[in-house]
Symmetry: C2
Subunit: 197 residues, 2 copies
DNA sequence: TATTATTTATACGAATAACGTATAAATCGA
DNA sequence: TCGATTTATACGTTATTCGTATAAATAATA
């Protein structure tokens, strides 16, 4: 292994923060609280992270990297496109539902600065997806008449629907809403695999 | 019924607060948050409660009243003392574990003003218990050589043990610790009913 | 409709809590 | 013992929350 391992104290901070964020959401948790759980002084915290926002970015990045690793396997093998999409959806669902609604809502609504970070992540995800789509187009698994750039624009439009509170309130939680959007993106009006049983 | 019912908005506030307190503990929840969940303006909140502390007192009082009602049945029937104590312990355990550790800890440690209220409640409970003991003494179910006043003093001494963090940390949670104290109070070193199975 | 009582929305100063930093003491490893 | 790291503490600054005042909006009553 070439990757030098994370310092002990830093791992403790990250783990403590992750647990607290999952339980209470992002906003309710204070830096001092994280330090207490992690058995670390405040100074040590600020040694590794400039502030709480950077910590949550780090957490998300870590989570995304993990998903990336799994996604990487998807891009190079020869499974059918339909199955790949299904696996991707499952991945996303797991990743989001694991951290709970409070987490996501806090993250998106309450800390505006992080919205940019989220958008960037979103863009990255889309590019990755588009890459997969292009590959699928070349293999003839996806109709060639759809342009990846169009797909990307549609995604941006649809994610803006999250601001429509009345619409979101129809769903039990934010995760469910996000899943609906993704389903529509990848399947359009076609029946979902799950609908067949 | 002679009791005029609680105003709708007040009930909404109480229910919203109860839910939030159970999920996040007392300290993390703000008045505005309660109002939002209860679909009530801040002004209406302050119409019914002078502040958050009074609201939690109200909640506790309500909970205590409920327990009182159940305790009332205990005092007048003819079940053996041993069984009564066991029922009381169960009552307390249910009442405390239902609201979670975070709740109790916040309540006792973080808001000093409420400590007095809690102590008063504790005194009330003890008096009630002493009454039961006296009755049991008269019936010959409890040794007459123990003075209720002594019992009361012992209780106060033992509850002070809660400040001994090292001691409390031996137990998985605060509830368990409280149960241990109660068990000792009522059974001394005698084996508990549960120990027999 | 006119009138009265409630409830709400908004803004505000005051009080409190959290942030992020500086410093010196304490702890740890070599 | 030395040097580096971590901690405890205090502190000024910023952000949040509190609790209240006010006027508009809504509901109720006549």
């Amino acid at each position: 292994m070439k990757t030098k391992k994370e310092p002990k104290k830093k791992t403790a901070i990250v783990q403590a923060a992750n647990g607290l964020f999952k339980q209470f959401g992002f906003k309710k948790v204070t830096v001092e609280e994280i330090c207490e759980i992690a058995c670390v002084s405040k100074m040590t915290f600020y040694k590794y992270f400039p502030n709480k926002n950077e910590l949550i970015k780090y957490l998300w990045q870590k989570m995304i990297d993990d998903s990336w690793a799994k996604l990487g396997e998807l891009e190079n093998n020869e499974t059918p496109f339909q199955d790949k999409i299904h696996m991707i959806l499952k991945l996303k669902e797991e990743a989001t539902s694991a951290m709970g609604d409070q987490y996501i809502r806090d993250y998106l609504n309450i800390v505006p600065e992080l919205q940019d970070f989220y958008n960037q992540v979103l863009a990255d995800v889309m590019q990755r997806f588009i890459k997969i789509i292009k590959h699928a187009q070349e293999k003839g698994e996806v109709r060639k008449t759809i342009r990846p750039e169009f797909f990307f624009a549609v995604v941006n439009q649809l994610t803006a629907l999250a601001n429509n509170e009345q619409l979101v309130s129809i769903y039990n939680n934010y995760t469910e809403f996000a899943l609906e959007i993704n389903n529509f993106l990848y399947y359009g009006l076609m029946p979902l695999p799950e609908d067949n049983k």
